[in-house]
Amino acid sequence: MIAVYLVLLIPLIGIVFFALGGHKADTGKINVRFNAICLLATIWLAINVLNQGTILSSDKAFLIDPFNVYLIVLTAFVGLTTSIFSAPYMAHEKEIGKLTDKRLRLYYSMYQGFMLAMYLVLTTNNMGVMWVAMEAATLATVMLVSLYRTPESIEAAWKYFILCGVGIAQALFGTILLYYAAVQIGDVENSLLWSVLYENASKLNPDILEIAFVFMLIGYGTKIGLVPLHNWLPDAHSEGPTPMSAVLSGLLLNDALYAVVRNKMLVDGSTHNNVAGYLMMGFGLLSFLVGALFLHRQKDIKRLFSYSSIEHMGMMTFAFGIGGPLATFAALLHMTVHSLTKSAIFVTVGHASQLAGTQSMDKIRGLIKTQPKVGWGLLIGTLAIAGFPPFGVFTSEFLVLLATMHSYPWLAPLLLLGIGIAFAGLFRHVQPMVYGEKPEGQLPVKANLWPVIIHLGLVLWLGLAIPGFLANWFSQATLLISGSTPL
């Protein structure tokens, strides 16, 4: 149990520490250390959970079950690797004078703040606190989106702020309704606790829960970036500093989805028709297809990949919507591999745009000649995210597809269509950037590409073989969510 407090405490210290001394030269490395310690703590936590099953803290404030514990580890891991990447990146940004000490302080302390919010979302047992943390995550990142203070970044941040704020407000209304429904069955004080709610989900009033779920879906769905609530996402990703885009894509979206799934579990427990599932499938498929189409008309490299995030989140939402062990397993796997791959891609994207001095894709050419590591990283990462084996994304997409074939065969062609369109959309832009002759005056930048190598290596490993402990981890989570396991 101490692990949980540790996980929450370290970022808290981090916030204060960096707020005071975030501008020092070696802050990047310190940031890395903070995240590394966090990762260790989470691993410790994970081991505990794996050994003694679900942990519920004594004051019922925190609940660690197989579903969230692996997300926690994932969060810590991506946080760590992204911080590794951000150290040289931010140093470079400071060198070229895009950032001042003050903003650097802000950046690092908000980085920790964001991590804190993420951990809180995942670990808490209280739906209300989950909402608070989610809102806090928005507030922490909104200043980072506008870190460069360009008009575009201000605009992006404003949109992000307003849209997510309004959206999240809906989620709060949903939470209130949930609470209202829970109060009906007594135990006023604890009736927002997930553990309590989940135990007597069947007693909750289905009508209220359906309405509540709609609000939750709209609210957290805005954060997931479901079409048509997605509009903030590409702006925020493209205008903020790249490490921010990496964690936004890799973590924030996942956690929003996590919140939705938690609520879906409640709703399913109470209303035994699969309404929540259908809603999620509809939104998921829509976002998947629309996101895929948007890929074709991008000019900004980071926008491109943020749309691909929308597309993939759509697929996960769809898969969770299908329900059933296979789909759920696939969705969990897809969550993992997507956040790994996408953050790796954003690392390479960041360096690519640094060495080109712009994010516009027409200017970025011949990366393989300019800086081979970055070029190959981007190319292979794109292959991975486009769902080519033997990378893990293929595995999960394959499973989603088969689950679809089993339950809703007539949707499978749509899914394949989306994959095809998305692939074309990604590659028509990426291939010209990596291949070809190097443009004049583009020089390699100082880059630490270990995150890319590690992430892609992991994704490759997951594609070739899912290690036993992870498989059984996933299957426990699947068991929790869908009630049965594919194994």
Partner: protein, 708 residues
């Protein structure tokens, strides 16, 4: 044992890929080896020198290249061994590898069908690995790093081998895509030219689409069965409709890879731009893997075939065969031409496969076996001579830096060995007797002529027509390769490059093609060798073999029965030798009549120039007139005139541009559709925050309304 060697083939090719990665790590190796030597041996001196000799700057790259290709060659040898072994023993070996999904390890199955294609791949890889070192020697390490080439070549080969081993849908798809992606990197290897990038993109895109439709095909099967292992899929029982849907999906997917019209367009784009030994592998071997996929899917997984599918295959095959050769006829780039002729040969194979399906569905398994035999045999032959031709093209390009037929000429005197090998290739691809191409074509005709046994009137009249189309194809192929050989090797040199070309020095570059050429001839004379092997395949897959007609003995080839049709290549060869020998001896006996060289007759105009010779477009002009509607022909002639009333013409410019019909008809519309669709979708993102709020507001109301 057999399986072990099969695995060895995969692992070795994989290892060769990894070894290539060490291209730039020689210093690490150096230090490592020195350390090791110091540790292990007490007399470190001369070993040290020996090591340094190989690891120092000068020798290292050549040494490494050699090592990589040796590994590749070994994998080829192992593949051949494994294939032969399993074919001879007729065994089925299954295994599981503890990779993949937790509840679905990779299933491996090695049976005669896989074995046969293993054989094909093995031979191709052997030839290529003989040829490779000399060919890649001239690459500049900086622009075209060997590490990349070697790595992806290794992955490509191992991917193809794994496809043959796969016994569950998941593993199959992984191997399949590994093959596609690796070959994509190879196509994009020389990515400075925009044409190459375009080709690579097109290739990968079509590979992806094909793979998706294959997945969907598997999905259809899987949704009627439990699990994705091929055993489960075999067990699944589908209604005719669903089976046909699965068939169509598989046909689209595998056909896209195999390059049947109209989904063939990636072939002529991708093959020319890849390095020649790669295009040899792609055209000679990878297309066969696609064929394997189709056979596995239709004959093995789907089980009971329907004659309608056969008709579909027959028609598509006929189209591809005719279209392929007609397009090939018009090409001036040698490798493009060869790529199109691959389309033609694949078409022929599909035709015969369709026939075999028809016979199978009508309950004539023996005739089905005959068709199957013809198809596989032709696949084998095509692998041989197409590899040979691509390697030859590689040599030509390597020596003259030209691939444009109109720029070559007269190489037969400067490159005698190459020209001989290439001639063999041309003769077998245009299916002349005594060479292997003819045998498979003969078998194809024999299959078509068995139509009498069918009852269905449509088939009875359709099949002979397609047979005639096959004849037309063969004749056109002969014309096409007369053009190729005649313009490249005969006559006078049409450009300086080809004027000062000379024979390759590297033995390996000749040994690879020589191996293939020898096989072409050998199989042409003794086809029985392969036919027995294929018989084993069909007995295992279709449960039927040819009527064993051993009364005639090994000299004779009588697929149906002796009195119906028979062909004895050895006797023919002997006869030919006798006849030629006699008249040669008889006519040469008189010493007075020794040859005299003299100037070519030039109609009295003094001095023939190379430009007076027939060019490629001139050679094919009559056919272009005759089959005009097959191509989109854009032919322009400008005359520079001067003098009084612009009477006298000083120069004439002639431009000929020929395009495939499938581009404007099929592909451009799709591209435009996607673009305009995305444009429409783009409109929802107006950039105005109030609109966005409106969206979420509307969504909320909508959902609330839906719920209540």
């Amino acid at each position: 044992m057999i399986l072990v060697s099969a695995y060895c083939a995969v692992l070795l090719s994989f290892a060769s890929g990894l070894l290539a990665l060490l291209m730039n790590q020689q210093h690490i190796l150096l230090t490592l080896s020195q350390y090791a030597v110091k540790k292990c041996f007490n007399d470190a001196g001369h070993r040290q020198d020996w090591l340094n000799k190989y690891l120092e700057e000068r020798h290292y790259p050549a040494f490494l290249r050699l090592a990589v290709f040796i590994l590749l060659g070994l994998s080829g040898v192992f593949a051949v061994l494994a294939g032969l072994a399993v074919l001879i023993t007729q065994s089925v070996i299954t295994d599981q590898i503890a990779l993949g999904l937790p509840w679905l390890p990779w299933h491996v199955r090695f049976d005669c069908l896989s074995g046969f294609f293993y054989l094909i791949i093995g031979i191709g890889v052997c030839a290529v690995s003989l040829y490779g070192p000399g060919y890649v020697h001239s690459n500049k390490e900086k622009d075209h790093p060997f590490a990349v080439l070697g790595l992806f070549t290794g992955l490509f080969v191992s991917g193809m081998l794994l496809v043959l081993l796969a016994d569950d849908a998941f593993f199959f798809m992984i191997a399949w895509e590994l093959m596609s992606v690796a070959s994509y990197f190879l196509v994009a290897f020389q990515h400075e030219k925009s044409a190459n990038r375009r080709a690579a993109f097109l290739y990968l895109l079509m590979a992806e689409v094909g793979a998706l439709s294959i997945i969907l095909g598997f999905g259809v099967l899987a949704s009627f069965s439990d699990g994705f292992t091929f055993d489960a899929l075999r067990a699944s029982s589908l209604s005719t409709t669903w089976a046909s849907i699965a068939f169509v999906l598989a046909l689209l997917g595998f056909g896209m890879k195999a390059g049947i019209v109209p989904v063939h367009v990636w072939l002529p784009e991708a093959h020319p731009v890849a390095p020649s030994h790669i295009s040899a592998l792609m055209s000679g071997v990878m297309l066969k893997v696609a064929l394997y996929g189709l056979i596995r899917f239709c004959f093995d997984l789907l089980g009971d075939v329907h004659w309608q599918w056969g008709v579909v295959l027959l028609i598509l095959g006929t189209l591809s065969a005719l279209g392929g050769i007609l397009y090939a006829m018009m090409q001036t780039n040698l490798k493009r031409l060869l790529a199109y002729s691959s389309v033609e040969n694949i078409g022929i194979i599909f035709m015969v496969l369709g026939l075999s399906m028809i016979f199978m569905a009508n309950g004539h398994p023996q005739l089905a076996a005959l068709g199957f035999l013809a198809a596989l045999f032709h696949a084998f032959n095509h692998a041989l001579f197409k590899n040979l031709l691509f390697l030859g093209a590689g040599i030509i390009h390597h020596q003259t830096h030209e691939l444009n037929i109109d720029m070559l000429g007269g190489l037969i005197k400067r490159m005698p060995k190459t020209s001989l090998l290439f001639l063999v290739g041309c003769m077998s691809i245009s299916s002349l007797p005594l060479f292997n191409g003819f045998v498979s074509e003969w078998l194809a005709f024999q299959t078509a002529l068995q139509v009498d046994v069918l009852d269905n009137g449509v088939l009875r009249s359709l099949i002979p027509v397609s047979a005639a189309a096959l004849a037309l194809t063969a004749a056109l192929a002969a014309a096409c390769f007369v053009k190729v050989f005649g313009l490249i090797f005969l006559g006078q040199a049409r450009s300086r490059n080809s004027g000062k070309a000379h024979e390759v020095h590297d033995k390996g570059m000749l040994a690879g093609p020589a191996l293939l050429a020898g096989l072409c001839f050998f199989i042409g004379i003794f086809p029985g060798v392969i036919i027995h092997l294929i018989n084993n395949v069909s007995s295992q897959l279709l449960g039927a073999t040819l009527p064993d007609d051993s009364t005639l003995g090994w000299l004779w080839l009588a697929p149906v029965s002796a009195h119906q049709a028979s062909y004895s290549a050895p006797l023919v060869l002997i006869g030919a030798l006798i006849a030629a020998g006699i008249c040669y001896g008889y006519l040469r006996r008189n010493p007075l009549t020794v040859m005299r060289r003299a100037e070519t007759w030039d109609c009295g105009f003094g001095g023939l120039t190379p430009r007076m010779q027939y060019s490629s477009s001139a050679f094919t002009m009559p056919l272009r007139r005759i089959f005009a509607s097959v191509w989109i022909i854009d032919e322009q002639i400008y005359k520079d005139t001067q003098g009084a009333m612009n009477q006298d013409v000083t120069a004439v410019h002639y431009q000929l541009h020929i395009e495939d019909h499938s581009w404007p008809r099929l592909y451009r519309p799709i591209a435009c559709g996607v673009n305009s669709l995305s444009k429409q979708v783009g409109r929802i993102q107006t950039g105005n925050i109030r609109t966005y709020l409106g969206y979420s507001f509307a969504t909320l109301l909508l959902l609330l309304w839906v719920i209540s």
